[in-house]
């Protein structure tokens, strides 16, 4: 099939067949935030935190389970020397170059994982309640405040939960999960939200592993 991309497979995210879904007004909303740039940074914060900040404008989180936001970029704590760096789509290459030159004298690793993880946004006043059904994390506002990041199991899938924003009782969570688990977690979250009117999500059968343009070329 001839197209503008010369037959190259179209880039897409694991939940490309899913539209954002919403429950009753003022309850819960699910949406995939596709294509954002994501990096895993391995770095000793003592050794390279300042250099990283100078290169990217992002300070590393000062304590475990914390995040730092600067504009549209953010750093999430994943471990004592491991961080998830987030940036808008299109900034990946620039960010990678900036880190490579800014940290060239410091032992580090900066790996793009934009297409390894995807992000499901879970928003609304019932977001905490819905996520509580899937995880053993303490999601009470007393224990899980704005900016908190925690890795845990959500139903059967490992993921990273970040409370990005909360206003007037409406929380905006971002759930970072591996590509292969995204479809499963989407269905499970929709199931958890059914009491607030989220529509049931039929499982999609027959994973199309190849895009149309590739299969037609083979034939």
């Amino acid at each position: 099939m001839a197209d503008e991309t010369g037959g190259a497979p179209e880039r897409r995210m694991p939940l490309f067949r899913r539209q954002a879904i919403e429950g009753a007004p003022g309850t819960l909303r699910l949406e995939e935030l596709a294509f954002a740039a994501k990096f895993i940074l391995r770095l000793d914060p003592q050794a390279g935190g300042e250099a990283f900040g100078a290169a990217t404008g992002l300070d590393l989180p000062p304590a475990p389970l914390m995040s730092v936001v600067n504009g549209e970029r953010a750093v999430l704590w994943l471990g004592p020397d491991e961080f998830l760096v987030l940036a808008p789509e299109g900034e990946a290459a620039g960010l990678a170059d900036a880190v490579a030159s800014g940290l060239k004298d410091v032992h580090h690793q900066f790996t793009e994982v934009s297409d390894y993880y995807t992000c499901i946004a879970v928003e609304g006043p019932k977001a905490r309640k819905a996520l509580m059904k899937l995880t053993t994390l303490d999601l009470h506002p007393r224990a899980f405040s704005v900016g908190t990041v925690a890795g845990s199991n959500f139903a059967q899938a490992q993921g990273w939960l970040w409370l990005e924003h909360e206003a007037e009782g409406a929380a905006r969570f971002r759930l970072y999960v591996r590509w292969s688990m995204a479809e499963y977690l989407w269905g499970t979250l929709a199931e958890a939200g059914r009491e607030w009117g989220l529509p049931e999500q039929e499982p999609v059968t027959g994973e199309p592993m190849l895009t149309e343009s590739v299969t037609s070329r083979k034939a």
Partner: protein, 121 residues
């Protein structure tokens, strides 16, 4: 199910953790004349006490870091949690008495220094 305190992330459910076997077993330095028995000793032999055991755990679903724990294998009491590279702290153990008058449950391991309640450090 019980709650484990990760030294980095704090209190989390057991289901987030992976077990890493007994802690503080040093890999022997390689020698040409090392016998199979010596190697097997390192590889297979564990103390397996009914009592307090220093063991490794990993916070598999969270920060993915290994850490050490002192746990009473008879009662599942977690007595201490400490990071890799740190020495095991001295702990005060609560060893339940056995009805038959044998040694209290969990008293079988002398690899870890146990301070009986009231004994003082």
């Amino acid at each position: 199910m019980f709650v484990i305190t990760c030294p980095y992330c704090g209190e989390r459910d057991l289901s987030e953790f992976a077990y890493g076997g007994e802690a503080h077993i040093a890999r022997p330095e390689w020698r040409e004349d090392m016998s199979d028995a010596e190697w097997a000793e390192f590889l297979f032999m564990r103390t397996n006490p009914k009592g307090i055991l220093a063991e490794r755990w990993m916070h598999a679903a969270g920060c993915r870091r290994f850490f050490n724990m002192l746990r009473n294998t008879a009662t599942d009491d977690i007595l201490a949690v400490y990071r890799i590279g740190e020495t095991p702290p001295k702990v005060e153990a609560r060893l339940p008495a056995t009805p038959s008058g044998e040694a209290p449950i969990g008293s079988g391991n002398d690899a870890v220094k146990i301070i009986q309640p009231g004994e003082g450090a």
